[in-house]
């Protein structure tokens, strides 16, 4: 993919550059590696918006910057030849997880919580600790000579089919050259574990975020107690909750957050 891009654009520049050469003789267009240019663009966007997430105080802007940062990360995945992973990054992360986060921001965006500012001493401490951590990580990354070598630009094979086969336990890709163990591992068991994990998380998140059960009666109980008892079902309902029917309040607010704001705030 990236090799094709490189070839197309360089062929275009070979046509254009001689025409420009008379007016701009020093323009170094021919040697430009467009893969590197796109990498610098997406890397700058990803890093800049990540720093923006830290620097912003408004939680809505933080969510927006995070969307841009993770979208640029998907561009980096495409440039590294992991096109399926880039698509999944866009669909699951940007399209799913961040939409979930934005919903969380909307549900909790009461005026005092939109921008909670940390103290300036905390800011200074975080800046110093972050700079130290970054220096440590970069020192560790630059200390391995093999990682400093520029890439050869060998275009990787499309990875969607081998990825899907690996997830069901069959490896159809050739092992990489110089692979340490030379063998392949299937990912059937992790795939199943992740599947069950997602199911448990679905149930657990729905359980945690459900509306609270109130001590005040439901509307159907109030109706059942107001009407004369005619059926056995209504009789048992009225007998089962006699003390709750006495305090029927028809106009109580519904919805978890609003009623908690009315009654349960600290």
């Amino acid at each position: 993919m990236t090799g094709l891009l490189d070839m197309d654009i360089s062929s275009v520049t070979h046509v254009i550059v001689p025409a420009l050469a008379t007016s701009l003789p020093t323009l170094p267009m021919a040697g430009i590696n467009w893969h590197s240019v796109l990498f610098l663009l997406f890397a700058g966007l990803a890093c800049g918006f990540a720093v923006g997430v830290v620097a912003a105080d408004n939680v809505v802007r933080m969510a927006l910057y995070l969307v841009f940062s993770l979208g640029s990360t998907a561009g980096l995945f495409f440039l590294a030849g992991a096109e399926f992973l880039g698509a999944m990054q866009l669909m699951i992360y940007v399209g799913g997880t961040l939409v979930l986060l934005v919903f969380g921001v909307m549900l909790t965006a009461q005026a005092p919580f939109v921008s909670i500012k940390p103290s300036s001493s905390d800011r200074t401490l975080a800046a110093v600790a972050g700079a130290s951590l970054l220096a440590l990580l970069l020192t560790a990354a630059f200390s391995v000579d093999a990682w400093m070598a520029p890439g050869v630009g060998e275009v990787p094979a499309p990875s969607a089919t081998p990825l899907g086969m690996a997830l069901i336990g069959v490896r159809v890709d050739t092992p990489p050259a110089g692979s340490p163990n030379g063998g392949h591992a299937g990912y059937m068991l992790p795939f199943e574990i992740v599947s069950v994990h997602l199911l448990v998380v679905l149930v657990g998140a729905a359980y945690l975020a459900r509306a609270k059960r109130r001590r005040t009666p439901r509307a159907i109980d109030a109706v059942a107690s107001a009407m004369p008892v005619k059926s056995a079902v209504a009789a048992t309902a009225a007998v089962a909750v006699p003390e709750r029917t006495a305090v029927a309040a028809p106009g109580r607010p519904t919805g978890g957050a609003k009623s908690a704001l009315v009654g349960g705030g600290r």
Binding site: I116, T139, A149, P150
Partner: protein, 142 residues
Amino acid sequence: MMSFSLAPSILLPGIPMPASLGMIPLFAANPFTEPVGVIHYLIVGAVLFTAGIACMTLKRNALGILMGIELVLNGANINFVAFSSSYLRAEGAPTLGLDGQVVALFVILLAAAEAAVALAITLNFYNNHATVDVDRADDLKG
């Protein structure tokens, strides 16, 4: 960026520099003509990881902490993808191959699950305390 080139000799004075003299050749070269290597992706991953850690420690909004966790996981994912790509490695250098991409895929899935549960906990906390300020979550403090 050139100031980082002195970092190894400042931080680790007793340890000799590697043969490539650290980061000097990378930043001396023209970034628009040189091909991209693993180290470029590692720099981006380190920046995202650091931003995420700073976000997790600095923000008082519970959702801001969640965003920091997402940034940290993405920094790790960038490293996995960089090490799995043969496009970025030298000729014949070992790569993680498809395994790195599979692990990155699992990280994306687990991040989605983690975000769902953490958001549910945050909403529950908001329902009970009417705030998302994590400094107010001190009910268990002895």
